[in-house]
């Protein structure tokens, strides 16, 4: 009988022993070491044990009887201290030497502990084994507080379990959305919402800085931004590291883990390894499915049979009751990849398939996971799905011999199926209304209220119309924002407001976006609408901005950038000019005086941007936002200070206006001018808003244009004081921000509102309305009136550094 020593009684080695005993009972005399004082249990099910939904007894895979039945010498609770490969013995912590003919290392992994200050305080626990679980159970209790660092699978299961046990739980997660390795932002949003409904607070993009202790015990977690979250227990669930030290010290070939070949053999032919402690062709393993494959191969190798381990795609499920989530494969952006997306906002369903070369390479689904295994099977088999592409997302129930009409999904719905979740309108009710004469979407809205609330089901209602009326129904031609949605800009803004949608994934899910992440057309628009609507809650998404706005400079045709500091009202001074001249010298810039009364430094390399911004900032200058859909310049003439014809302090007013308005984001660029007399030297009558000073006061005109279109301003108001000019200007700008479609200049927006009367009523005639607009603008400015250059210098300078200097490399 061969002596087999196994180090580690986890799930992988347990499965290997099952195979071994089944195929060759009595062939091996097995000694099983385990550092934990117990045998093999289903570690994956620790989360339900934590939550109280399972007992430990239920998750024991091999009990004492099983080990006795197979004659296993159990050395549980005994750590192996060394392997002497020369003598083929294993040294236990008890001092015993156990000889082997074959050795299997299955030491698993260790939880990664973020080395934050305070990580060794009492009450900071990892989440890996039963002892950790019991520690958490002991710490739990009504009213007590837990912080979980890590919004991955394990962290969220821990959070849900602790919450069920009555704790107040906060999850702190560094990336921007939960389970970022398994989920895309859309599914991450739904998961976050579901956890929020369980009373679990989730902080994404939150960087932990320090664990605060009191009397040697954890008391709080402090974040980078200074936030402190009080806690009685802090769970670290940020990942695992292969427990490869034993193999490494024994002289086995190791990289990040113990290296094995496809037979699960290490660099020593008598030593095998499997599970989370191994590395195969550079790949590590953390989920159970490949571990079970390894177990089978290892057993066959021990039995002298030929077998080879082949890594396979893995799928993930979250064990939180009521959260239906499935993820498999690769769903990152990539060349040649296509997405099929299905969203059902009413049911909270999101499904996304990623296809490449007519094969599924990734699947993410939330809320409806019934077809997860079917998609997973197609993915593993590399099946060609081109023939069923149109109906693929609807699952196997819709797959027949021939490709079906995508409308079949709606056709197949029973009459009682709810089409409009908001108003509880079924397909049958809509059909009845159509049969009763309602032949347009609007008519259906009036008759049944379907699509009358969120509008999310408009497409479905139109499909029912098309199905019922056939060719008689003509879908009205509306111009949607882009191909990602059927909603118009107006509808989108209305729904963001009425449904209180405050993040990009939320909008896309709740409004049924057809793509997973939007496109370059809708993302900038969405970003703008969200930041205007929710200035305090929404965080500006740099990635949803055009390149100029991302890099805070206008990219030029040679790839360099122009840098234009702000000159309020077109005024500057000798110090600023010196700083500009120095910067021009230092960075080799061409210098151009612009039509907006500023100085443009052209030809700045991207990597120099933070430096030149810092230099200009040191001289007191801020970004001129010459690259934004936002406030650009306030052009002025010299006014009463210098001009013989000047009627008012046009320069001063221009400066005051610019100081009030700069930094604000608008649907398109927004230019102002203040001219001191009707001679109009500042060309105020072709600006988005122009002020013409006259003896009796100020004439405010809006909606001018002097680009591709040439248009004079229309008179909005005539007022007596500067304060009124400023108030009306702010109110007008805010109304434009709140009302205009993204990329509509004011004159286009004014035309769409049907003329100036509607606008004048709100910004001039009604003081309450004007005041409210000003208040909302000021709230927004409290967030957005900051110099982006200084901000980028402080926080993002590294991103401007080229990844590699390829020219130098080539030269070498």
């Amino acid at each position: 009988m061969q002596k087999l020593v196994v180090i580690g009684a986890g799930m992988a080695s347990g499965r290997m022993l099952e195979h071994l005993f089944e195929a060759a009972p009595g062939e091996f005399d097995v000694t099983l070491f385990n550092a934990e004082p117990r045998g093999n249990y289903n570690r994956i099910m620790l989360s339900p044990v934590l939550s109280g939904e399972k007992s430990y007894d239920e998750i024991v895979t091999h009990d004492a009887d099983w080990y006795a039945r197979h004659g296993v010498h159990c050395r549980f609770g005994e750590r192996v201290t060394a392997i002497d490969r020369a003598r083929k013995v294993v040294l236990g912590a008890s001092g015993d030497e156990v000889p082997y003919d074959k050795l299997v290392i299955a030491t698993g992994s260790n939880p990664f502990i973020v080395p934050l200050p305070g990580h060794d305080l009492d009450g900071v626990v990892a989440y890996r084994d039963l002892d950790d679980t019991n520690r958490m159970i002991a710490a739990a209790g009504p009213g007590r507080r837990a912080v979980v660092i890590g919004g991955g699978l394990l962290g969220l299961e821990a959070a849900a379990g602790l919450r069920l046990r009555g704790m107040e739980v906060t999850v702190v997660h560094l990336p921007g959305h939960l389970m970022e390795r398994q989920l895309d932002p859309a599914a991450g949003y739904l998961l976050r919402r579901a956890l929020g409904e369980r009373g679990i607070e989730v902080l994404c993009g939150a960087n932990s800085k320090e664990i605060v202790g009191q009397d040697g015990k954890v008391a709080a977690l402090r974040l980078e931004d200074g936030t402190e979250i009080a806690c009685d227990i802090l769970v670290m669930a940020v990942g695992i590291r292969p427990a490869a030290a034993l193999g490494r010290e024994a002289g086995l070939t190791t990289g990040r883990a113990i290296a094995v070949d496809a037979t699960m053999t290490t660099s020593d032919p008598d030593v095998l390894a499997l599970g989370e402690c191994v590395e195969f062709e550079g790949q590590l393993f953390g989920l159970v499915a490949p571990l079970y494959d390894q177990a089978k191969v290892a057993a066959q190798t021990l039995l002298g049979q030929s077998a080879a381990f082949v890594p396979r795609e893995v799928s993930t499920k979250l064990k939180v009751t009521g959260c239906d989530l499935f993820s498999a494969g690769d769903f990152a952006e990539g060349e040649g990849r296509e997405d099929i997306v299905f969203r059902d906002p009413a049911r909270g369903v999101y499904k996304r398939l990623v296809l490449k070369d007519d094969r599924i390479i990734g699947a993410v689904m939330y809320g409806d996971t019934a077809d997860g295994n079917w998609f997973y099977g197609l993915m593993k088999d590399g099946a060609d799905v081109s023939a069923m592409r149109e109906t693929l997302i609807f699952g196997p129930g819709f797959q027949g011999g021939a490709p079906a009409d995508p409308m079949a999904a709606v056709a197949a719905l029973p009459d009682e199926a709810e089409i409009c979740g908001c108003n509880g309108v079924s397909k049958g009710m809509i059909v009845k209304a159509i049969e009763g004469g309602a032949h347009t979407l609007d008519a259906i809205k009036i008759c049944t209220k379907a699509s009358g609330s969120c509008g999310g089901c408009s497409g479905l209602v139109e499909q029912v119309l098309a199905l019922t009326l056939g060719g008689e129904f003509v879908k009205p031609a509306v111009k949607p924002v882009c191909g990602c949605t059927d909603l118009t800009h107006e509808e989108l803004r209305r729904l963001i407001r009425s449904k209180s949608l405050k993040s990009m994934p939320e909008v896309m899910q709740e409004l049924g976006w057809k793509t997973p992440d939007g496109c370059p057309s809708c993302r900038p628009a969405l970003n703008f609408y969200l930041l205007v609507e929710w200035p305090l809650e929404y965080r500006d998404d740099l990635q949803s901005r055009f390149v100029n706005e991302r890099n805070h400079g206008n990219i030029q045709k040679d790839g360099t950038y122009s840098v234009m500091p702000r000159m309020f009202g077109g005024m500057t001074n000798a110090d600023e000019l010196r700083a500009i001249a120095d910067a021009a010298d230092k960075y080799g810039a061409a210098v151009k005086v612009t039509g907006g009364q500023r100085i443009d430094l052209l030809g700045i390399r991207k990597e120099d941007l933070p430096s030149i911004w810092a230099d200009l900032g040191a001289a007191g200058m801020v970004s001129g936002h010459a690259y934004t859909k936002g406030l650009r310049t306030v052009k002025t003439c010299v006014g009463t200070d210098w001009c013989r014809f000047g009627t008012q302090d046009s320069t001063g007013l221009g400066i005051r206006l610019e100081k009030r308005l700069w930094g604000s984001w608008t649907p398109h660029k927004f230019k102002l001018a203040v001219t001191g007399c009707p001679r109009n030297c500042a060309e105020a009558t072709c600006k988005d808003l122009g002020v013409v000073c006259v003896d009796s006061g100020y004439e405010i005109g809006v909606g001018g244009a002097a680009g591709i279109e040439l248009k004079a301003t229309e008179p909005l108001a005539k007022v007596a004081t500067e304060a009124e000019v400023i108030d009306i200007t702010v109110a007008f700008l805010q109304l434009y921000r709140e009302g205009a479609n993204y990329l509509d200049r004011p004159h286009k927006w004014i035309a769409k509102t049907g003329g100036l009367d509607w606008i004048r009523e709100r910004v001039v005639d009604d003081p309450d309305s004007r005041r409210a607009l000003i208040e909302r603008f000021d709230i927004s400015q409290s967030v957005y009136q900051k110099d982006p250059w200084a901000d980028h210098v402080a926080t993002r300078a590294a991103l401007y550094t080229p990844l590699a200097d390829l020219t130098k490399e080539a030269a070498e």
Partner: protein, 310 residues
């Protein structure tokens, strides 16, 4: 497990019956009365108008109703119940949207040794409060429960409320495994089945069945998930959780047991959408004598079935 021991405990629930709407009345739709034959005979003859008797009250008031004493109450079979030794009853209406499908009534023969709990929790100001409950002899636990509330996600009731799904909890009385663990442990309560009871216009009602080893509500609990989002267009239901004194754990994460419509007792519930009480019938799981299966209808579909066996 040793079935000889299991034969000994006296069940907490003495009789279970189903009432089905027929026209404007509720009529007897089956039940199990063990050896309470006189009460069974009286029940089969009975029917209830809306608002009449316990089932009629649950129908009329669209909520679970707990009746802890029959004397002088609206309970129509009070005399037969007294003769049968029955002292309390709980009526659980089964609604599909606004439509009443059935009323399940459980009757208990309370004495100073019968321990268990049937609780009704309702949402109020964002918290689950105890609306009513029957606890048998577990007085201390009853008092604690009356002074406990659950936010969403916390404890068995709060967990069910948040998950919108039934939850089965183990080891209620050991350590910290249950928010009311100390008093649950003192009362000998061991297993808890929480289930959502969707009511017209109210999504927050949760019923908890807490079982003690000495006078168990059941020896076997099952939770079946029948949502299309889980089982797909093919229909049927998957056993997502369960525990049995005879068979041990019933769940299988990788290959959950599945039944199709009309296949076996659970399949029958899937097919009819109605609760069933099956007794002394071959084919009941693990050789039990009685199975009660209660469907939960939510979002326009039969979403779950909970079943318990004695």
């Amino acid at each position: 497990m040793d079935t000889a021991i299991l034969a000994t405990p006296r069940p907490f629930i003495a009789a279970t019956e189903v009432w089905l709407p027929s026209g404007d009345r509720l009529v007897h739709g089956g039940g199990d009365y063990a050896d309470l034959t006189a009460f069974e005979a009286a029940s089969i003859r009975q029917s209830f108008a809306r608002g009449e008797g316990l089932p009629g009250k649950a129908w009329d008031e669209e909520r679970p109703v707990v009746l802890k004493s029959f004397d002088g109450s609206y309970f129509l079979r009070a005399e037969a119940a007294r003769e049968a030794g029955l002292t309390a009853a709980v009526a659980l209406p089964v609604f599909d949207g606004k439509k009443l499908l059935a009323v399940l009534v459980v009757l208990c023969a309370g004495d100073e040794t019968a321990t268990g709990a049937i609780e009704v929790w309702r949402g109020q100001d964002g918290l689950l409060m105890l609306a009513d409950g029957y606890y048998g002899a577990a007085r201390q636990f009853e008092w604690v429960s009356q002074h406990t509330h659950f936010p969403k996600g916390q404890g068995l009731p709060g967990g069910v409320w948040a998950a919108r799904a039934p939850i089965l909890m183990r080891d209620l009385g050991s350590g910290y495994s249950f928010i009311r663990s100390e008093s649950a442990g003192a009362a000998g309560l061991s297993t808890g089945l929480g289930l959502p009871v969707p009511l017209p216009g109210d999504d927050s009602c949760v019923v908890a069945l807490l079982s003690a080893a000495g006078t168990p509500i059941a020896h076997r609990f099952e939770i079946w998930d029948a949502r299309a989002a889980r089982v797909g267009a093919a229909g049927g239901a998957e056993l997502t959780d369960g525990i049995c004194d005879r068979d041990g754990p019933l769940w299988d994460e990788d290959n959950p047991p599945r039944v199709q419509v009309w296949q076996g007792p659970i399949g029958q519930v899937l097919g009819t959408g109605l609760p069933v009480v099956l007794s002394a019938r071959p084919g009941l799981a693990a050789g039990y004598n009685l199975m009660v299966a209660l469907p939960i209808h939510r979002d326009g579909e039969l979403s779950h079935i909970v079943a318990w066996y004695i």
